[in-house]
Protein backbone atom coordinates (compact mmCIF):
# COMPACT_ATOMS: atom_id res chain seq x y z
CA UNK A 1 0.00 0.00 0.00
CA UNK A 2 1.42 3.35 -1.05
CA UNK A 3 1.43 5.76 1.83
CA UNK A 4 0.66 9.44 1.36
CA UNK A 5 0.22 12.39 3.69
CA UNK A 6 -0.68 16.00 2.91
CA UNK A 7 0.70 19.28 4.20
CA UNK A 8 -1.04 22.59 3.66
CA UNK A 9 1.16 25.06 1.77
CA UNK A 10 0.74 27.61 4.56
CA UNK A 11 2.51 25.20 6.96
CA UNK A 12 5.50 24.61 4.70
CA UNK A 13 7.68 27.45 6.08
CA UNK A 14 6.98 26.22 9.57
CA UNK A 15 7.88 22.64 8.57
CA UNK A 16 11.33 23.63 7.25
CA UNK A 17 11.94 25.90 10.28
CA UNK A 18 10.95 23.10 12.64
CA UNK A 19 13.32 20.65 10.95
CA UNK A 20 16.15 23.18 11.19
CA UNK A 21 15.21 23.98 14.80
CA UNK A 22 15.33 20.27 15.66
CA UNK A 23 19.07 20.39 14.96
CA UNK A 24 18.93 18.84 11.50
CA UNK A 25 20.83 20.67 8.80
CA UNK A 26 18.53 21.23 5.85
CA UNK A 27 19.79 21.96 2.34
CA UNK A 28 17.50 23.11 -0.45
CA UNK A 29 17.62 25.09 -3.71
CA UNK A 30 18.13 28.80 -3.02
CA UNK A 31 17.94 31.60 -5.61
CA UNK A 32 21.38 32.99 -6.47
CA UNK A 33 20.76 35.88 -8.82
CA UNK A 34 19.24 35.71 -12.28
CA UNK A 35 18.02 32.19 -13.03
CA UNK A 36 20.72 30.56 -10.94
CA UNK A 37 20.03 28.29 -8.00
CA UNK A 38 22.21 26.37 -5.58
CA UNK A 39 21.65 23.81 -2.84
CA UNK A 40 22.43 25.71 0.36
CA UNK A 41 21.56 25.43 4.02
CA UNK A 42 18.15 26.89 4.85
CA UNK A 43 16.41 27.56 8.15
CA UNK A 44 12.97 28.51 6.86
CA UNK A 45 10.75 27.49 3.97
CA UNK A 46 10.64 30.98 2.47
CA UNK A 47 14.35 30.68 1.63
CA UNK A 48 13.61 27.70 -0.61
CA UNK A 49 13.26 28.26 -4.35
CA UNK A 50 10.30 25.96 -4.97
CA UNK A 51 9.84 25.81 -8.73
CA UNK A 52 13.30 26.39 -10.05
CA UNK A 53 15.44 25.10 -12.88
CA UNK A 54 18.09 22.56 -11.82
CA UNK A 55 20.63 24.01 -9.39
CA UNK A 56 24.11 24.95 -10.68
CA UNK A 57 25.61 21.85 -9.02
CA UNK A 58 23.47 18.77 -8.48
CA UNK A 59 23.05 17.20 -5.03
CA UNK A 60 26.00 14.99 -6.07
CA UNK A 61 28.05 17.50 -4.07
CA UNK A 62 26.66 16.05 -0.82
CA UNK A 63 27.09 12.42 -1.78
CA UNK A 64 30.47 12.80 -3.40
CA UNK A 65 31.99 16.08 -2.23
CA UNK A 66 34.18 18.00 -4.64
CA UNK A 67 37.05 17.61 -2.16
CA UNK A 68 36.96 14.62 0.14
CA UNK A 69 39.65 13.55 2.59
CA UNK A 70 40.09 9.78 2.34
CA UNK A 71 43.06 9.48 4.69
CA UNK A 72 45.31 11.44 6.97
CA UNK A 73 48.96 10.60 7.21
CA UNK A 74 52.08 11.18 9.22
CA UNK A 75 55.45 10.17 7.82
CA UNK A 76 57.61 11.18 10.81
CA UNK A 77 58.03 7.49 11.55
CA UNK A 78 57.44 5.66 8.24
CA UNK A 79 54.45 5.48 5.93
CA UNK A 80 51.66 5.82 8.49
CA UNK A 81 48.21 6.46 7.16
CA UNK A 82 44.71 6.44 8.67
CA UNK A 83 41.83 6.04 6.23
CA UNK A 84 38.85 8.23 7.15
CA UNK A 85 35.28 8.81 6.01
CA UNK A 86 33.84 12.32 6.10
CA UNK A 87 30.08 12.50 6.55
CA UNK A 88 27.32 14.67 7.85
CA UNK A 89 23.74 13.88 8.88
CA UNK A 90 21.75 16.15 6.60
CA UNK A 91 18.34 16.53 5.07
CA UNK A 92 17.89 17.49 1.42
CA UNK A 93 14.68 19.14 0.33
CA UNK A 94 13.67 19.93 -3.23
CA UNK A 95 15.52 17.20 -5.10
CA UNK A 96 13.98 16.97 -8.57
CA UNK A 97 13.31 13.61 -10.22
CA UNK A 98 16.27 14.10 -12.57
CA UNK A 99 18.60 14.57 -9.61
CA UNK A 100 17.11 11.62 -7.72
CA UNK A 101 17.96 9.55 -10.81
CA UNK A 102 21.49 10.95 -10.61
CA UNK A 103 21.81 9.76 -7.00
CA UNK A 104 20.53 6.33 -8.05
CA UNK A 105 23.25 6.17 -10.72
CA UNK A 106 25.97 7.11 -8.23
CA UNK A 107 24.61 4.53 -5.75
CA UNK A 108 25.03 1.83 -8.40
CA UNK A 109 28.57 2.88 -9.29
CA UNK A 110 29.82 3.03 -5.72
CA UNK A 111 28.00 -0.14 -4.62
CA UNK A 112 29.49 -2.16 -7.46
CA UNK A 113 32.36 -4.41 -6.36
CA UNK A 114 34.86 -3.23 -5.23
CA UNK A 115 32.48 -1.04 -3.25
CA UNK A 116 33.34 2.42 -2.02
CA UNK A 117 33.06 2.58 1.77
CA UNK A 118 33.32 6.36 1.85
CA UNK A 119 30.40 6.94 -0.47
CA UNK A 120 28.23 4.21 1.03
CA UNK A 121 28.77 5.44 4.60
CA UNK A 122 27.88 9.01 3.63
CA UNK A 123 24.84 8.14 1.53
CA UNK A 124 23.07 6.58 4.50
CA UNK A 125 23.39 9.80 6.51
CA UNK A 126 21.45 11.85 3.96
CA UNK A 127 17.66 12.01 4.02
CA UNK A 128 16.24 12.81 0.59
CA UNK A 129 13.01 14.74 0.13
CA UNK A 130 12.15 14.97 -3.54
CA UNK A 131 10.02 17.64 -5.15
CA UNK A 132 8.00 17.12 -8.30
CA UNK A 133 8.26 19.33 -11.38
CA UNK A 134 4.70 19.75 -12.59
CA UNK A 135 5.87 21.01 -15.97
CA UNK A 136 9.12 21.63 -17.86
CA UNK A 137 11.68 23.73 -16.02
CA UNK A 138 13.05 25.10 -19.30
CA UNK A 139 13.89 24.17 -22.89
CA UNK A 140 17.18 22.44 -21.94
CA UNK A 141 15.54 19.58 -20.05
CA UNK A 142 15.23 16.16 -21.71
CA UNK A 143 13.86 14.19 -18.80
CA UNK A 144 11.06 12.57 -20.82
CA UNK A 145 13.59 10.98 -23.16
CA UNK A 146 15.35 9.20 -20.30
CA UNK A 147 12.12 8.49 -18.35
CA UNK A 148 12.97 10.70 -15.39
CA UNK A 149 10.04 13.14 -15.56
CA UNK A 150 8.06 11.05 -13.06
CA UNK A 151 9.27 9.77 -9.67
CA UNK A 152 10.92 6.33 -9.77
CA UNK A 153 11.85 5.84 -6.11
CA UNK A 154 15.24 6.78 -4.75
CA UNK A 155 13.89 9.14 -2.07
CA UNK A 156 12.61 8.93 1.51
CA UNK A 157 9.82 11.46 0.99
CA UNK A 158 8.49 13.00 -2.19
CA UNK A 159 6.56 16.27 -2.28
CA UNK A 160 4.12 17.16 -5.03
CA UNK A 161 2.41 20.55 -5.15
CA UNK A 162 -1.19 19.65 -5.86
CA UNK A 163 -1.80 23.27 -6.94
CA UNK A 164 -4.81 23.42 -4.59
CA UNK A 165 -3.03 24.83 -1.57
CA UNK A 166 -1.56 21.51 -0.42
CA UNK A 167 1.47 19.32 -0.88
CA UNK A 168 1.01 15.61 -1.33
CA UNK A 169 3.85 13.66 0.23
CA UNK A 170 4.71 10.11 -0.77
CA UNK A 171 6.36 8.24 2.10
CA UNK A 172 8.76 5.80 0.50
CA UNK A 173 10.85 4.57 3.43
CA UNK A 174 10.52 3.84 7.11
CA UNK A 175 13.15 6.49 7.73
CA UNK A 176 10.88 8.95 5.92
CA UNK A 177 7.88 7.80 7.98
CA UNK A 178 9.70 8.23 11.27
CA UNK A 179 11.03 11.60 10.19
CA UNK A 180 7.63 13.01 9.29
CA UNK A 181 6.09 11.82 12.57
CA UNK A 182 8.31 14.28 14.43
CA UNK A 183 6.62 17.26 12.80
CA UNK A 184 3.06 18.50 13.02
CA UNK A 185 0.48 19.49 10.43
CA UNK A 186 0.88 16.40 8.27
CA UNK A 187 -2.50 14.79 7.68
CA UNK A 188 -3.41 11.43 6.18
CA UNK A 189 -4.25 11.81 2.50
CA UNK A 190 -7.90 11.20 1.60
CA UNK A 191 -9.49 10.08 -1.66
CA UNK A 192 -9.83 13.58 -3.05
CA UNK A 193 -6.08 14.17 -2.46
CA UNK A 194 -5.31 10.94 -4.33
CA UNK A 195 -7.60 12.08 -7.14
CA UNK A 196 -5.88 15.46 -7.24
CA UNK A 197 -2.51 13.71 -7.56
CA UNK A 198 -3.81 11.44 -10.32
CA UNK A 199 -5.27 14.45 -12.15
CA UNK A 200 -1.95 16.26 -11.89
CA UNK A 201 -0.03 13.25 -13.22
CA UNK A 202 -2.54 12.98 -16.08
CA UNK A 203 -1.93 16.63 -17.01
CA UNK A 204 1.80 15.95 -16.75
CA UNK A 205 1.58 13.04 -19.16
CA UNK A 206 0.20 15.49 -21.73
CA UNK A 207 2.90 18.08 -21.04
CA UNK A 208 5.62 15.42 -21.26
CA UNK A 209 3.88 13.57 -24.09
CA UNK A 210 6.78 13.31 -26.52
CA UNK A 211 10.47 12.69 -26.22
CA UNK A 212 12.47 15.91 -26.43
CA UNK A 213 14.62 14.19 -29.04
CA UNK A 214 12.65 12.42 -31.76
CA UNK A 215 13.78 8.86 -31.05
CA UNK A 216 12.38 5.98 -29.02
CA UNK A 217 13.99 5.53 -25.60
CA UNK A 218 14.84 1.89 -26.41
CA UNK A 219 16.60 2.81 -29.66
CA UNK A 220 19.20 5.11 -28.10
CA UNK A 221 21.82 2.34 -27.55
CA UNK A 222 21.40 1.33 -31.20
CA UNK A 223 21.89 4.98 -32.23
CA UNK A 224 25.17 5.03 -30.32
CA UNK A 225 26.25 1.74 -31.88
CA UNK A 226 26.18 3.57 -35.21
CA UNK A 227 27.60 7.01 -34.57
CA UNK A 228 31.09 6.35 -33.19
CA UNK A 229 32.71 7.69 -36.38
CA UNK A 230 30.23 10.50 -36.94
CA UNK A 231 31.52 13.91 -38.06
CA UNK A 232 29.31 15.44 -35.37
CA UNK A 233 32.00 14.67 -32.75
CA UNK A 234 34.51 16.67 -34.81
CA UNK A 235 32.11 19.62 -34.80
CA UNK A 236 31.79 19.38 -31.01
CA UNK A 237 35.57 19.05 -30.74
CA UNK A 238 36.06 22.29 -32.66
CA UNK A 239 33.74 24.19 -30.31
CA UNK A 240 34.67 22.57 -26.99
CA UNK A 241 37.12 24.57 -24.88
CA UNK A 242 37.86 21.57 -22.60
CA UNK A 243 36.87 23.50 -19.47
CA UNK A 244 35.18 20.53 -17.80
CA UNK A 245 32.07 22.51 -16.77
CA UNK A 246 29.79 19.88 -18.32
CA UNK A 247 31.20 17.06 -16.21
CA UNK A 248 31.32 19.13 -13.02
CA UNK A 249 27.62 19.94 -13.21
CA UNK A 250 26.58 16.46 -14.36
CA UNK A 251 24.69 14.53 -11.66
CA UNK A 252 26.29 11.26 -12.79
CA UNK A 253 29.88 12.26 -13.58
CA UNK A 254 31.91 10.75 -10.78
CA UNK A 255 35.49 10.65 -12.08
CA UNK A 256 38.09 11.80 -9.61
CA UNK A 257 41.76 12.31 -8.99
CA UNK A 258 43.63 11.40 -5.80
CA UNK A 259 46.03 13.97 -4.41
CA UNK A 260 48.26 14.27 -1.36
CA UNK A 261 48.34 17.59 0.46
CA UNK A 262 51.12 18.09 2.92
CA UNK A 263 50.89 20.23 6.03
CA UNK A 264 53.54 22.89 6.61
CA UNK A 265 55.63 20.43 8.67
CA UNK A 266 56.05 18.44 5.40
CA UNK A 267 55.48 15.26 7.40
CA UNK A 268 51.77 15.11 8.06
CA UNK A 269 48.92 15.82 5.71
CA UNK A 270 45.93 14.36 3.99
CA UNK A 271 45.14 12.30 0.92
CA UNK A 272 42.00 13.51 -0.79
CA UNK A 273 39.81 12.83 -3.78
CA UNK A 274 38.88 15.70 -6.05
CA UNK A 275 36.41 15.79 -8.93
CA UNK A 276 38.24 15.34 -12.20
CA UNK A 277 37.02 15.60 -15.77
CA UNK A 278 37.50 13.37 -18.79
CA UNK A 279 37.36 16.62 -20.77
CA UNK A 280 40.79 17.66 -19.46
CA UNK A 281 43.59 16.92 -21.89
CA UNK A 282 45.71 15.16 -19.29
CA UNK A 283 42.93 12.89 -18.05
CA UNK A 284 43.87 9.79 -20.05
CA UNK A 285 47.58 10.50 -20.24
CA UNK A 286 50.19 7.98 -19.08
CA UNK A 287 53.69 8.55 -17.74
CA UNK A 288 55.35 8.10 -21.12
CA UNK A 289 53.35 11.06 -22.47
CA UNK A 290 50.86 9.10 -24.55
CA UNK A 291 47.31 10.47 -24.28
CA UNK A 292 44.57 8.01 -25.20
CA UNK A 293 41.98 10.69 -25.88
CA UNK A 294 44.17 13.52 -27.09
CA UNK A 295 41.48 15.15 -29.27
CA UNK A 296 38.63 17.19 -27.80
CA UNK A 297 36.28 15.45 -30.22
CA UNK A 298 37.23 12.06 -28.72
CA UNK A 299 36.72 13.42 -25.22
CA UNK A 300 33.29 14.85 -26.02
CA UNK A 301 32.34 11.56 -27.65
CA UNK A 302 33.53 9.77 -24.52
CA UNK A 303 31.25 11.93 -22.39
CA UNK A 304 28.20 11.14 -24.54
CA UNK A 305 29.00 7.42 -24.61
CA UNK A 306 29.37 7.43 -20.84
CA UNK A 307 25.81 8.74 -20.60
CA UNK A 308 24.04 6.79 -23.35
CA UNK A 309 25.98 3.65 -24.24
CA UNK A 310 28.57 2.28 -21.80
CA UNK A 311 26.34 2.19 -18.66
CA UNK A 312 23.73 0.12 -20.51
CA UNK A 313 26.03 -2.91 -20.35
CA UNK A 314 26.93 -2.48 -16.71
CA UNK A 315 23.90 -0.92 -15.07
CA UNK A 316 21.03 -1.35 -17.56
CA UNK A 317 20.20 2.35 -17.51
CA UNK A 318 21.19 5.64 -19.07
CA UNK A 319 23.47 7.86 -17.06
CA UNK A 320 21.96 10.99 -18.61
CA UNK A 321 19.29 12.13 -16.17
CA UNK A 322 17.82 14.66 -18.59
CA UNK A 323 18.53 17.61 -16.28
CA UNK A 324 20.10 19.67 -19.09
CA UNK A 325 22.82 21.18 -16.88
CA UNK A 326 25.64 20.43 -19.36
CA UNK A 327 23.83 22.46 -22.02
CA UNK A 328 23.01 25.34 -19.68
CA UNK A 329 26.57 25.67 -18.48
CA UNK A 330 28.53 25.14 -21.70
CA UNK A 331 30.51 28.24 -22.64
CA UNK A 332 30.70 27.04 -26.23
CA UNK A 333 26.97 26.41 -26.48
CA UNK A 334 27.28 22.65 -26.88
CA UNK A 335 23.75 21.42 -26.30
CA UNK A 336 23.02 17.80 -25.53
CA UNK A 337 19.52 17.96 -27.01
CA UNK A 338 20.77 19.50 -30.25
CA UNK A 339 23.60 17.01 -30.50
CA UNK A 340 21.23 14.07 -30.04
CA UNK A 341 18.82 15.50 -32.61
CA UNK A 342 21.69 15.82 -35.12
CA UNK A 343 22.82 12.25 -34.45
CA UNK A 344 19.27 10.94 -34.84
CA UNK A 345 18.80 12.83 -38.12
CA UNK A 346 22.19 11.74 -39.44
CA UNK A 347 21.23 8.10 -38.88
CA UNK A 348 17.73 8.46 -40.30
CA UNK A 349 16.28 7.25 -37.00
CA UNK A 350 13.94 10.19 -36.54
CA UNK A 351 10.47 9.45 -35.18
CA UNK A 352 8.65 12.71 -34.36
CA UNK A 353 5.96 10.77 -32.45
CA UNK A 354 8.40 8.94 -30.16
CA UNK A 355 7.40 9.12 -26.54
Amino acid sequence: MERYVVLKEKYFNDFISSVAASGQKVFAPVAKGYNQYAFEEVTSGNQVAMDCIPTILPPKKFFMPQYETIATYDTSNGQNMKPVVEYENIVLFGVHTCDIAGIQCLNMVFSEHPKDTNYLTRKNKILVMGYECNSYCDEYALCRLVHNHLPNGGYDLFFTNLENGSFMIHINTLIGEEFIRKFKNFKEANDSDIQALEGLRERKRKIFAKNEVPIEHEKIPELFNRVYDSKIWDELGKRCVACGNCTNVCPTCYCFDIIDESNLDLKSGRRYRRWDSCQNESFAKVAGGESFRAERSARQRHRYYRKFRYPIEKFSRFFCTGCGRCSRTCMAGINIKETLIKLVEEQGMKNPDAG
Binding site: M81, F256, D260, C278
Partner: protein
Protein backbone atom coordinates in the same frame (compact mmCIF):
# COMPACT_ATOMS: atom_id res chain seq x y z
CA UNK B 1 31.36 17.58 8.99
CA UNK B 2 32.17 14.49 11.02
CA UNK B 3 35.19 12.30 10.48
CA UNK B 4 35.06 8.57 11.07
CA UNK B 5 38.06 6.29 11.14
CA UNK B 6 37.46 3.80 8.40
CA UNK B 7 38.16 0.16 9.27
CA UNK B 8 37.79 -1.34 5.84
CA UNK B 9 38.76 1.42 3.47
CA UNK B 10 39.75 0.43 -0.03
CA UNK B 11 42.43 3.11 0.24
CA UNK B 12 44.27 1.55 3.20
CA UNK B 13 47.94 0.98 2.43
CA UNK B 14 50.26 -1.75 3.64
CA UNK B 15 53.75 -0.75 4.61
CA UNK B 16 56.34 -2.18 2.27
CA UNK B 17 59.99 -2.13 3.28
CA UNK B 18 62.59 -1.77 0.56
CA UNK B 19 65.04 -4.66 0.79
CA UNK B 20 67.23 -3.71 -2.14
CA UNK B 21 67.54 -1.01 -4.78
CA UNK B 22 69.52 -1.72 -7.91
CA UNK B 23 70.25 0.82 -10.62
CA UNK B 24 69.85 -1.03 -13.90
CA UNK B 25 70.04 1.74 -16.50
CA UNK B 26 70.42 5.51 -16.41
CA UNK B 27 66.69 5.91 -15.84
CA UNK B 28 65.48 2.62 -14.34
CA UNK B 29 65.89 1.13 -10.91
CA UNK B 30 64.80 -2.21 -9.55
CA UNK B 31 63.17 -2.22 -6.12
CA UNK B 32 62.79 -5.36 -4.06
CA UNK B 33 60.06 -4.89 -1.46
CA UNK B 34 58.98 -6.91 1.58
CA UNK B 35 55.48 -6.76 3.06
CA UNK B 36 54.95 -6.74 6.85
CA UNK B 37 55.90 -10.11 8.32
CA UNK B 38 57.30 -11.29 5.00
CA UNK B 39 53.75 -11.95 3.80
CA UNK B 40 53.55 -12.94 0.13
CA UNK B 41 51.94 -10.45 -2.24
CA UNK B 42 49.96 -13.35 -3.78
CA UNK B 43 49.76 -11.77 -7.20
CA UNK B 44 49.23 -13.19 -10.66
CA UNK B 45 51.81 -12.37 -13.33
CA UNK B 46 50.53 -9.27 -15.15
CA UNK B 47 48.83 -7.66 -12.14
CA UNK B 48 49.84 -4.27 -10.76
CA UNK B 49 50.17 -2.57 -7.38
CA UNK B 50 49.57 1.02 -6.33
CA UNK B 51 52.71 2.45 -4.75
CA UNK B 52 52.48 5.43 -2.41
CA UNK B 53 54.84 7.87 -0.89
CA UNK B 54 52.59 9.81 1.44
CA UNK B 55 52.86 13.49 0.68
CA UNK B 56 54.07 12.82 -2.85
CA UNK B 57 51.36 10.63 -4.30
CA UNK B 58 50.38 7.23 -5.56
CA UNK B 59 50.69 5.52 -8.95
CA UNK B 60 50.26 2.08 -10.53
CA UNK B 61 53.27 -0.16 -11.27
CA UNK B 62 53.47 -3.57 -12.90
CA UNK B 63 54.82 -6.28 -10.64
CA UNK B 64 57.93 -7.56 -12.37
CA UNK B 65 58.74 -10.59 -10.23
CA UNK B 66 57.06 -13.95 -10.53
CA UNK B 67 54.68 -15.17 -7.81
CA UNK B 68 57.04 -18.16 -7.55
CA UNK B 69 59.47 -15.79 -5.85
CA UNK B 70 58.29 -15.87 -2.24
CA UNK B 71 58.81 -13.44 0.61
CA UNK B 72 59.34 -10.33 -1.48
CA UNK B 73 58.41 -8.84 -4.83
CA UNK B 74 60.08 -6.58 -7.38
CA UNK B 75 59.22 -3.49 -9.36
CA UNK B 76 61.23 -1.84 -12.09
CA UNK B 77 60.57 1.87 -12.12
CA UNK B 78 61.58 4.51 -14.64
CA UNK B 79 62.37 7.97 -13.27
CA UNK B 80 59.84 9.95 -15.24
CA UNK B 81 57.63 12.03 -12.92
CA UNK B 82 57.28 13.45 -9.43
CA UNK B 83 56.53 10.19 -7.62
CA UNK B 84 59.05 8.06 -9.53
CA UNK B 85 61.68 10.72 -8.96
CA UNK B 86 61.04 10.54 -5.22
CA UNK B 87 61.08 6.73 -5.35
CA UNK B 88 64.46 6.81 -7.08
CA UNK B 89 65.88 8.62 -4.04
CA UNK B 90 64.91 5.83 -1.66
CA UNK B 91 67.39 3.35 -0.18
CA UNK B 92 67.21 -0.11 1.32
CA UNK B 93 65.30 0.07 4.61
CA UNK B 94 62.97 2.89 3.49
CA UNK B 95 59.22 2.37 3.41
CA UNK B 96 56.65 2.70 0.64
CA UNK B 97 52.86 2.30 0.79
CA UNK B 98 51.32 -0.63 -1.10
CA UNK B 99 47.75 -1.26 -2.26
CA UNK B 100 46.83 -4.27 -4.32
CA UNK B 101 47.56 -6.39 -6.27
CA UNK B 102 44.89 -5.23 -8.71
CA UNK B 103 43.51 -6.27 -12.06
CA UNK B 104 43.35 -9.39 -14.15
CA UNK B 105 46.75 -10.89 -14.85
CA UNK B 106 47.85 -13.44 -17.44
CA UNK B 107 45.69 -16.58 -17.28
CA UNK B 108 48.59 -18.89 -16.36
CA UNK B 109 46.49 -22.03 -16.07
CA UNK B 110 45.02 -21.52 -19.53
CA UNK B 111 48.55 -21.14 -20.90
CA UNK B 112 49.59 -24.54 -19.50
CA UNK B 113 50.45 -27.05 -22.19
CA UNK B 114 50.81 -24.39 -24.88
CA UNK B 115 53.86 -22.96 -26.61
CA UNK B 116 54.60 -19.42 -25.46
CA UNK B 117 55.82 -16.60 -27.66
CA UNK B 118 56.76 -13.52 -25.66
CA UNK B 119 57.08 -10.25 -27.55
CA UNK B 120 58.37 -7.40 -25.39
CA UNK B 121 59.04 -3.84 -26.52
CA UNK B 122 60.88 -1.38 -24.30
CA UNK B 123 59.47 -1.31 -20.77
CA UNK B 124 57.04 -4.07 -21.81
CA UNK B 125 59.64 -6.52 -20.54
CA UNK B 126 58.80 -5.41 -16.98
CA UNK B 127 55.30 -6.95 -16.69
CA UNK B 128 56.38 -9.82 -18.97
CA UNK B 129 59.35 -10.57 -16.70
CA UNK B 130 56.86 -11.83 -14.13
CA UNK B 131 55.26 -14.33 -16.51
CA UNK B 132 58.55 -15.35 -18.16
CA UNK B 133 60.00 -16.26 -14.79
CA UNK B 134 56.81 -18.02 -13.81
CA UNK B 135 57.09 -20.09 -17.00
CA UNK B 136 60.77 -20.82 -16.39
CA UNK B 137 60.08 -21.85 -12.78
CA UNK B 138 57.29 -24.15 -13.99
CA UNK B 139 59.07 -25.01 -17.23
CA UNK B 140 57.66 -28.51 -17.77
CA UNK B 141 54.06 -27.16 -17.72
CA UNK B 142 54.64 -25.35 -21.01
CA UNK B 143 55.64 -26.23 -24.57
CA UNK B 144 58.25 -24.27 -26.49
CA UNK B 145 59.18 -20.90 -25.01
CA UNK B 146 60.28 -18.14 -27.38
CA UNK B 147 61.20 -14.71 -26.04
CA UNK B 148 61.61 -11.74 -28.41
CA UNK B 149 62.79 -8.46 -26.96
CA UNK B 150 63.22 -5.12 -28.65
CA UNK B 151 64.44 -1.84 -27.27
CA UNK B 152 65.75 1.50 -28.43
CA UNK B 153 69.46 1.38 -27.66
CA UNK B 154 71.72 -1.34 -26.17
CA UNK B 155 72.13 0.65 -22.93
CA UNK B 156 68.32 0.67 -22.44
CA UNK B 157 68.32 -3.12 -22.10
CA UNK B 158 66.82 -4.14 -18.75
CA UNK B 159 67.72 -7.30 -16.85
CA UNK B 160 70.96 -7.77 -18.78
CA UNK B 161 72.22 -10.49 -16.37
CA UNK B 162 69.07 -12.49 -16.82
CA UNK B 163 69.06 -11.97 -20.58
CA UNK B 164 72.48 -13.62 -20.71
CA UNK B 165 71.10 -16.52 -18.71
CA UNK B 166 68.05 -16.84 -20.99
CA UNK B 167 70.40 -16.88 -23.99
CA UNK B 168 72.32 -19.80 -22.46
CA UNK B 169 69.31 -21.85 -21.43
CA UNK B 170 68.53 -24.82 -23.64
CA UNK B 171 64.82 -24.80 -22.84
CA UNK B 172 64.22 -21.17 -23.87
CA UNK B 173 64.83 -19.47 -27.21
CA UNK B 174 65.75 -15.84 -26.64
CA UNK B 175 66.29 -13.20 -29.33
CA UNK B 176 66.73 -9.49 -28.96
CA UNK B 177 67.12 -6.50 -31.20
CA UNK B 178 67.82 -2.78 -30.83
CA UNK B 179 66.46 0.04 -32.96
CA UNK B 180 69.80 1.86 -32.98
CA UNK B 181 73.08 0.01 -32.33
CA UNK B 182 76.36 1.37 -31.02
CA UNK B 183 79.85 0.18 -31.99
CA UNK B 184 79.92 -2.45 -29.20
CA UNK B 185 76.64 -4.12 -30.22
CA UNK B 186 76.98 -7.44 -32.01
CA UNK B 187 73.32 -8.50 -32.05
CA UNK B 188 70.31 -7.78 -34.25
CA UNK B 189 69.47 -4.24 -35.33
CA UNK B 190 65.93 -3.34 -36.31
CA UNK B 191 62.41 -3.15 -34.93
CA UNK B 192 60.89 -5.97 -32.89
CA UNK B 193 58.80 -6.91 -35.93
CA UNK B 194 61.98 -7.99 -37.73
CA UNK B 195 62.36 -10.92 -35.27
CA UNK B 196 58.90 -12.39 -35.80
CA UNK B 197 59.33 -13.96 -39.27
CA UNK B 198 62.28 -16.03 -37.98
CA UNK B 199 60.29 -17.72 -35.21
CA UNK B 200 59.33 -21.28 -35.92
CA UNK B 201 55.94 -21.92 -34.34
CA UNK B 202 52.80 -24.01 -34.55
CA UNK B 203 50.13 -21.30 -34.51
CA UNK B 204 47.21 -23.29 -33.06
CA UNK B 205 49.13 -24.32 -29.98
CA UNK B 206 50.91 -21.01 -29.44
CA UNK B 207 49.90 -18.23 -27.09
CA UNK B 208 51.58 -14.95 -28.02
CA UNK B 209 52.00 -12.57 -25.10
CA UNK B 210 52.73 -9.07 -26.32
CA UNK B 211 53.59 -6.08 -24.13
CA UNK B 212 55.04 -2.83 -25.37
CA UNK B 213 54.24 0.75 -26.35
CA UNK B 214 50.88 1.36 -28.09
CA UNK B 215 52.44 1.75 -31.55
CA UNK B 216 54.01 -1.70 -31.30
CA UNK B 217 50.73 -3.55 -30.81
CA UNK B 218 49.27 -2.72 -34.20
CA UNK B 219 52.26 -3.97 -36.16
CA UNK B 220 53.07 -7.00 -34.01
CA UNK B 221 49.47 -8.21 -33.77
CA UNK B 222 49.01 -7.92 -37.54
CA UNK B 223 52.08 -10.10 -38.05
CA UNK B 224 51.00 -12.67 -35.46
CA UNK B 225 47.55 -12.95 -37.02
CA UNK B 226 49.33 -13.34 -40.36
CA UNK B 227 51.21 -16.28 -38.88
CA UNK B 228 47.90 -17.88 -38.05
CA UNK B 229 47.81 -17.44 -34.26
CA UNK B 230 44.12 -17.32 -33.23
CA UNK B 231 42.87 -13.96 -31.90
CA UNK B 232 42.04 -15.36 -28.46
CA UNK B 233 45.59 -16.68 -28.13
CA UNK B 234 47.15 -13.25 -28.49
CA UNK B 235 47.39 -11.62 -25.06
CA UNK B 236 48.31 -8.01 -24.43
CA UNK B 237 48.69 -5.81 -21.36
CA UNK B 238 47.41 -2.27 -21.82
CA UNK B 239 48.98 0.69 -20.09
CA UNK B 240 46.67 3.28 -18.59
CA UNK B 241 47.06 5.65 -15.63
CA UNK B 242 44.97 4.00 -12.90
CA UNK B 243 44.37 6.39 -10.03
CA UNK B 244 42.15 4.26 -7.79
CA UNK B 245 42.53 0.67 -9.04
CA UNK B 246 38.90 0.10 -8.06
CA UNK B 247 37.07 0.76 -11.31
CA UNK B 248 35.78 4.14 -10.20
CA UNK B 249 38.02 7.12 -10.94
CA UNK B 250 37.63 6.84 -14.72
CA UNK B 251 41.22 7.55 -15.71
CA UNK B 252 41.95 4.08 -17.09
CA UNK B 253 38.65 3.72 -18.94
CA UNK B 254 38.93 2.34 -22.48
CA UNK B 255 35.54 2.91 -24.09
CA UNK B 256 33.21 0.98 -21.73
CA UNK B 257 35.97 -1.02 -20.02
CA UNK B 258 37.89 -0.18 -16.87
CA UNK B 259 41.47 -1.28 -17.51
CA UNK B 260 42.22 -1.62 -13.77
CA UNK B 261 39.43 -4.14 -13.15
CA UNK B 262 38.77 -5.76 -16.54
CA UNK B 263 42.47 -5.68 -17.50
CA UNK B 264 45.27 -4.75 -17.80
CA UNK B 265 45.63 -8.15 -19.53
CA UNK B 266 43.23 -8.73 -22.39
CA UNK B 267 43.06 -11.27 -25.19
CA UNK B 268 42.99 -9.70 -28.64
CA UNK B 269 39.53 -11.08 -29.50
CA UNK B 270 38.12 -9.16 -26.50
CA UNK B 271 39.60 -5.80 -27.47
CA UNK B 272 39.69 -5.85 -31.25
CA UNK B 273 36.34 -4.01 -31.34
CA UNK B 274 37.19 -1.70 -28.44
CA UNK B 275 38.29 1.25 -30.50
CA UNK B 276 40.38 3.10 -27.93
CA UNK B 277 42.29 0.00 -26.84
CA UNK B 278 45.26 -0.11 -29.20
Amino acid sequence: MKILKSKDSEYEIKKGRILRVKKITDSEKLFEIVLPGGENLNHEPGQFVMISLLGVGEAPFSISSSPTKLGSFELVIRDVGKLTHALHRLKAGDEVGIRGPFGKGFPVHILEGSDLLFVAGGLGIVPLHSLINYAIDNRRDFGKVNILLGCGKPEDMLYSDELDEWTKRLDVNFECTVDRADSGWKGNVGLITSLIPGVNLVPVRTFAIVVGPPIMYKFVITMLLGKGIPERQILVSLERHMKCGLGKCGHCQINGVYCCQDGPVFSYDKIKNIRESI
